[in-house]
Structures are given as C-alpha cells and as structure tokens.
Amino acid sequence: RALGPAEKEAVVDYLLQYGYLQKPLEGPNHFRLEDVTEALRAFQEASELPVSGQMDDATRARMKQPRCGLEDPFNQKTLK
C-alpha cells in the first residue's frame, strides 16, 4: 500500500540515519523514488528480508528493532 507522508518521512529518516541513503550535498532532502527504492532494497538484503524495494510489514518491523546508533555500510553507493 502507498506510504502516508508521515511514514514515508520516517522511512527516509531511518535510511538516511543508517547510511542507506546519501544526504544530498546541495539543497534540501528531495530524494528520487528510485533512490529510496534502491536504499530500501539494500536494507532488505542486509537484513536477510525479501528484496522488493517496497515497504512491507517485515521491513517495517525490522526498522523498529533496537540497534546500534552507528551507520551501516551496506549500500555500496553510499559507502563509496
């Protein structure tokens, strides 16, 4: 189902905070849909979840799990 604006923002914040999305150097955080989809795929793969690039319940649950505050180096593009 389509993400509401609040959930979309929460997902983007999570992907940003943990290094799956690269904060654009110039201007505000406007991300292209393909960037978010690619970042979500990287997160799902690293979490050993079905890789769809879409938000699903398993991905949502995983993002709620307690974790370390440091970034993850699992999106090759942002890692570079």
């Binding site: 995983r62 709620k64 799990q65 307690p66 370390c68 440091l70 970034e71």
Partner: protein, 411 residues
C-alpha cells in the same frame, strides 16, 4: 566485516565514568569487563582500567540530554548505544534502556558493550545478522561468543593472538588484561530516597546533588545520570559534608572532615586539599549568598560567614543560625542559594525555602524526593506540584520510586 580504523598501539587504557541505575554496580561492571575480554581473548590486545584521569576508551551512560555528546539518545528501544572509531575512544550507552544481565528481559549490557567496543577498536557493522557486529541487537544469548566474522575482523586489524602473546599475558598475571576494581564503590544511592550529603548550584547554573560516592544533576525536566564523584572531580572523596560554588571567584569548595578541596570547574587548584583550621571540622552545609557575595558555612546550630578574598576574622563565629536564617532547622544536611534568588535548606527528606529576608516561607518543609528529584509520591493521583513553584516546567519526568524499578535482579 568492515574496517573503519585502528589504534596504533595494542595496550589500551579504559575508564568507566558512570553506570546504569537499572543494575547493581558490581553486575554492571562485571558485564563491561567481560565485554573487553571477548576481544582480548582473540587478539593481542590488553585493556587496563584507570580510575581517574585520561583513558583511551571511556564508557559512560547518558540520555536525551548530554553536556558532552551531541548525538543524544531516544529513550527506551531503537538506538541503544553508539561509539566513536579509533582513536577517539568514547563509548556511550542510552541510560534510558533497561540494562540487564543473565536474563532475556531488557537489553544485555555485556553484549551491547562488546559490540560498541568493536567499533571503538575499529570495526564497522557486519553483514552477518548473527555476528556481534551486526547493527541490530539479536537479543540475549546465554552462551554468547564472537562470530567467526567478528574474530576475522579484529584479527585483520591487530593480528592473531600468538602463543607468546598468550604467554606474555600469562606472565602479566599480576596485571591481568582487565584489572579488577581497586575500591568497591558504596552502593549507588536512590535519588528518590530524598537523602543528601550536599547540594550545589554550580558553574553555568547546573544544580548538583551529592550522596555517598555519587553525584547527579537536577534539572527542571529530570535528573542526570549518576556519576562517581571522583569521575568528575578527580581526587575528591565521596560522602562529602558540604559543597559550594562561588560565582565571585569561580571557586568550588568541597568540605569533608577536617579538610577542604578547591576546584575550578573540574580541575583541582594547586595545594589542595588543605586542613580546615579556622572553622570547625565535619561541617553540615555551605552556601554562597549573592546579596553580600559571602560564603556561609553551617554546623549544628552555628554558622560562619566567610569572605573568600579578604582576611575574615572568624573568631566571632560560629553565630546562631537562627539569628540570621529564621525558621530553619539545626544540623542541616545541605543548603544552597538557587537560581530563583531564594535560599534552600535541606535536612533528612525535607527542605525549607527562604525568602529574600532569609525567613522560611509558609507551607514548608516539603518533600525533597517529590519536588526536587522528580519522584512520584507513593499515593497515586497526587499531582507533582513544583517545589520551586513556577520555576519548574510542568512536563516533569518522574522517577518511579518503587525500589523494584531501580534494580533488575539478574536470574
């Protein structure tokens, strides 16, 4: 594994700056010491604890606010801890988590500490979800041990633990890789008991409460984490008699027995501690009164008025407290002039507020735990009125002062 950095040396010092309030201190310390052991067992690393001064790796607990970390935490759940990579050495834990040991409940301190030490030693997150260095906490495991990926990562940084290193380590049996604590701290106090040794309005308007070996800050929104006194003021003992900060001189004076210590911020002034010789030892309380810029010292039913910068003739002291501070009890446990311009006296579990004429105001004494330490009263339904009236915000964080929430018993 991912390598983020490395220490140029293999023999590191560490210091535990404070502990969580949800575990007995000895249990929390044992968990942290074991976390170091996981790494020193598989790599030629040694970790030596220091009780004061600088250390390579510094472990501490903080919450949503922290005077020394811009990366604040988010309350129970979600982010549990964070650490800097080499050679920075800071390792921070979220004090709002339910830190536990030996149980599936809460968050296991030993495992999280081992993970964060992995970062502090140079490891990034692992893609193996069962590895210690995986980003997400996989829960308590009774027979926890490092994953092969963790071992491979740390050995890529510091090499394998060769037999001779092991022998050398055996040789150092006198100084084990993690030296045990030399002084067992007194039990961590419960701020909700309301008992105090001293109170101080310190530099930058921070209110400090002292009890036993510990000190914590009191803010309008809640209490800071408990630190050992010696962690903040190196060389200062616990169980203090009195503490007072003078904005006039920037001096902080601590009193205990027949001695006085002087600090500027957290640095002891040269030549201190000194012996008390012109006032009686074993003081009860001290405060700075901004109206005449003098320091007042209290003991039993008497007080001394001391001008820090002038040769004060103290031979006419002590004078009766009641002569100047009308309505306050003898033998106070603490006293301070607070940000609201009023003077407060503390004794046992109660406190008195004085107006600018140094006369106790109507409706006092009141309960320290309830109005200063943000503790919920036993009887449900009573509101947390502010002791200092309008000066405190209404969104108080209350500590539940039923003892069970103060400690999680390990199975």
């Amino acid at each position: 594994y991912l390598l983020l950095g490395r220490w140029r040396k293999k023999h590191l010092t560490f210091r535990i700056l404070n502990l969580p309030s949800t575990l007995p201190p000895s249990t929390a310390r044992a968990a942290l010491l074991k976390a170091f052991k996981y790494w020193s067992n598989v790599a030629p690393l040694t970790f030596r604890e220091v009780q004061a001064g600088w250390a390579d790796i510094r472990l501490s607990f903080h919450g949503r606010q922290s005077p020394y970390c811009s990366n604040t935490f988010d309350g129970p759940g979600r982010v549990l801890a964070h650490a800097d990579i080499p050679e920075l050495g800071s390792v921070h834990f979220d004090e709002d988590e339910l830190w536990t040991e030996g149980t599936y409940r809460g968050v296991n301190l030993r495992i999280i500490a081992a993970h964060e030490l992995g970062h502090a030693l140079g490891l990034g997150h692992s893609r193996y979800t069962q590895a210690l260095m995986a980003p997400v906490y996989a829960g308590y495991r009774p027979f926890f041990k490092l994953h092969p990926d963790d071992v491979a990562g740390i050995q890529a940084l510091y090499g394998k633990k060769s037999p001779e290193t092991r022998d050398k380590e055996e040789e150092q049996v006198a100084v084990p890789t993690v030296s045990p604590v030399t002084t067992e701290p007194s039990p961590m106090p419960n701020p909700c008991s309301g008992e105090l040794d001293a109170m101080m309005l310190g530099p930058r308007g921070k209110t400090y409460a002292f009890r036993g070996d510990y000190v914590w800050t009191v803010t309008d929104s809640g209490l800071g984490p408990l630190f050992r006194v010696s962690s903040l003021w190196e060389g200062l003992p616990g169980n203090l008699d009195a503490a007072v900060y003078s904005p006039r001189t920037q001096w902080i004076h601590f009193f205990k027995g027949d001695k006085v210590w002087r600090y500027i911020n957290f640095k002891m002034s040269p030549g201190f501690p000194k012996k008390l010789n012109r006032v009686e030892p074993n003081l009860d309380a001290a405060l700075y009164w901004p109206l005449n810029q003098k320091v007042f010292l209290f003991k039993a039913s008497g007080y001394w008025q001391w001008d820090e910068l002038a040769q004060t003739d103290l031979s006419r002291y002590p004078k009766p407290i009641k002569e100047l501070f009308t309505g306050v009890p003898d033998h106070p446990s603490a006293a301070l002039s607070w940000r609201d311009g009023r003077v407060y006296f503390f004794k046992g579990k109660e406190y008195w507020r004085l107006n600018r004429q140094l006369r106790v105001e109507k409706g006092y004494p009141r309960k320290i735990a309830h109005n200063w330490m943000h503790c919920r009263p036993q009887t449900p339904g009573t509101s947390t009125s502010s002791a200092r009236d309008s000066t405190r915000s209404t969104t108080d964080t209350v500590l539940d002062n039923t003892p069970s929430t103060m400690y999680t018993t390990a199975d």
